[in-house]
């Protein structure tokens, strides 16, 4: 059971308000997609969940406890890239999480303990379709395989929360469908909460059980930094249709243009 409770959360850097008045309750086993224009605090929000950033104001509770101030094994992360370890094979990359947990001093398992762990690793590699590539190094893998590897690394730890930061953005469009199937399967099997940032609103609609839209409510050209983004839509998925998708796309584009214009100025 994992629940998240966020109340009146603000994140500011000096004068610049990034997130304002975020309120969110998350129940167990939700698959939440986060969409919104770039610069609307999706990544900041994810970094807070990770423990890399602290909220400026407001409460952020996981299972009733305040959020830890650093990343930990209960919250897994898959970045857009660079998160597999180049010096370890596919096997070693997935094994690492188990080794770090079971051998806190050496960070290495030997003998029977290692063999037992490798059985779990092989199972995970079969699940993500990387078993045949188990002896390769990440540099020898395609982009899609590297992302599968990164997902396997995190999921084998059975995290309460899995964070995905645009995990498929750097992949060929044709690969996304496979990856969606993979991630949905893992989500059902491992019973975790997933937060996935995506730039692709359509992807946000297709995946998951709940869609959060981050957007700036007030676009003030005179004081562009005075107002941050907040959650403008919180939609349970499976009930919305094309008109909503179109509306969201229009709104996001408008904010994006606004942000870009500011960046140019």
């Amino acid at each position: 059971m994992t629940t998240l409770s966020i109340k009146r959360l603000y994140k500011e850097y000096g004068d610049q308000v990034v997130l304002e008045n975020i309120n969110l309750e998350v129940r167990d086993n939700e698959f939440i997609t986060l969409v919104g224009a770039s610069g609307c605090g999706k990544t900041t929000f994810l970094r807070m969940l990770l423990g890399e950033e602290r909220p400026t104001r407001g409460t952020f509770l996981i299972d009733g406890e305040p959020l830890p101030a650093e990343p930990g094994p209960d919250r897994g992360i898959v970045f857009q890239r660079y998160s597999a370890f180049p010096h370890l094979t596919v096997h070693g990359n997935v094994l690492l999480g188990l080794e770090l947990a079971r051998a806190p001093r050496l960070g290495r398992l030997f003998g029977a303990a290692r063999r037992a762990a490798l059985v779990e690793v092989d199972e995970m590699l079969h699940a993500v379709g990387l078993y045949e590539a188990r002896d390769k190094y990440p540099a020898q893998l395609s982009g899609g395989m590297q992302q599968r590897l990164s997902i396997a690394q995190s999921v084998i730890k059975n995290p309460k929360i899995l964070l995905l930061d645009e995990p498929f953005a750097a992949l060929d469009p044709g690969l996304s469908a496979d990856m969606h199937k993979l991630i949905l399967g893992l989500w059902e099997r491992h019973k975790m909460n997933i937060f996935m940032i995506t730039h692709d609103i359509k992807e946000g609609f297709e995946l998951g059980t709940r869609l959060l839209v981050f957007d700036k409510v007030r676009l003030d050209p005179q004081a562009p930094n005075a107002y941050g983004a907040t959650i403008t839509y919180d939609i349970p998925l499976g009930v919305c249709g094309t008109p909503l998708l179109d509306e969201l796309t229009t709104r996001t584009r408008r904010t994006e243009r606004f942000v870009n214009k500011l960046a140019v100025a």
Binding site: L50, E52, E70, P71, G72, P73, R75, G76, I77, F79, R81, Y82, S83, F85, P86, H87, L88, L96, G97, E99, L100, A101, P104, R105, L106, G107, R108, Y137, P138, A139, S150, Q153, S154, K157, P159
Partner: protein, 272 residues
């Protein structure tokens, strides 16, 4: 006619082109040596090839009258021991301080300005201090080389730690790594091939400081020997010694590269 920038030599062509300057130099030397020797048969400046052969035979195969040892091997052993010891200590210091300053912000805040200042002191300027403090023996020579290469290695490795993508550092923490296991399982193994690269880069200065130290105070060693026979203008000894030092330097560099490729196949030798 294609543009010059698009014309590439084949494998054999590249080999011939590469050998050309060596042969040109040899040819120029032989002609110049011949001219000088025909004017004055006892000229020592540019000895003939036969004098080299004699000198090499004497230094590389015959025991020295005074010490009873074969000088070239005695010198090579002494120099390589000093060099190897310094490289080993330098690598250890570089790894420890490089990782500590690269991975731990508190250690970085404490040591980085200090190491940066140390690295600015010209090592040769403190050679007298080293001689006074450590005496004229082996310690001061190793200390000089160490002083010349260790600050560079520390700073270079510290920067290499910084080059590891932050995604990996965060990911390891979500996989349950402590600061210690993050260093031993993620940072250190990725730093080892980079350490070998940095050592290769510091080989040049290591040789420089080795020969400088030997020239000033030693009773054996490659640098000692060439500075000793300089008094007799013994070019027939100096030039083979220089060639031998070059061969040794090349062999070291080459073996470092080989070791890197063999031990760390995942490290595609980006800077090789």
């Amino acid at each position: 006619m294609r543009r010059l920038v698009n014309l590439r030599p084949g494998r054999g062509g590249a080999l011939v082109l590469g050998a050309l300057p060596f042969f040109a130099l040899l040819l120029v030397y032989l002609i110049a040596s011949d001219l000088r020797l025909s004017e004055n048969p006892s000229d020592k400046m540019l000895p003939a090839l036969s004098s080299f052969a004699d000198a090499i035979r004497q230094y590389a195969t015959e025991p020295d009258q005074r010490s009873g040892q074969v000088l070239l091997w005695l010198d090579t052993q002494a120099s390589l021991t000093r060099l190897g010891l310094s490289l080993l200590l330098g690598a250890a210091l570089g790894l420890v301080f490089g990782i500590a300053t690269g991975a731990l912000p508190y250690v970085r805040a404490g040591f980085s300005p200090f190491i940066a200042t140390l690295s600015l002191i010209p090592p040769l300027s403190i050679l007298p201090i080293l001689f006074i403090v450590f005496g004229m023996g082996e310690v001061s020579k190793v200390a000089l080389i160490l002083f010349g290469i260790a600050p560079f290695l520390m700073r270079d490795l510290s920067m290499r730690v910084g080059e590891i993508p932050s995604e990996q550092i965060i990911k390891s923490q979500t996989l349950g790594a402590s600061s210690w296991t993050l260093i031993t399982r993620v940072i250190l193994p990725q730093l080892l091939p980079r350490l070998l690269d940095s050592l290769r880069l510091s080989l040049g200065s290591a040789w420089l400081f080795l020969i400088a130290a030997e020239a000033i105070a030693a009773d054996e060693g490659l640098g000692y020997r060439i500075f000793l026979v300089r008094r007799y203008m013994a070019m027939d000894v100096i030039l083979p010694y220089v060639a031998w030092i070059t061969v040794l330097a090349f062999a070291l560099d080459w073996s470092f590269r080989r070791v890197n490729r063999r031990l760390f196949p995942w490290y595609s030798g980006k800077n090789a």
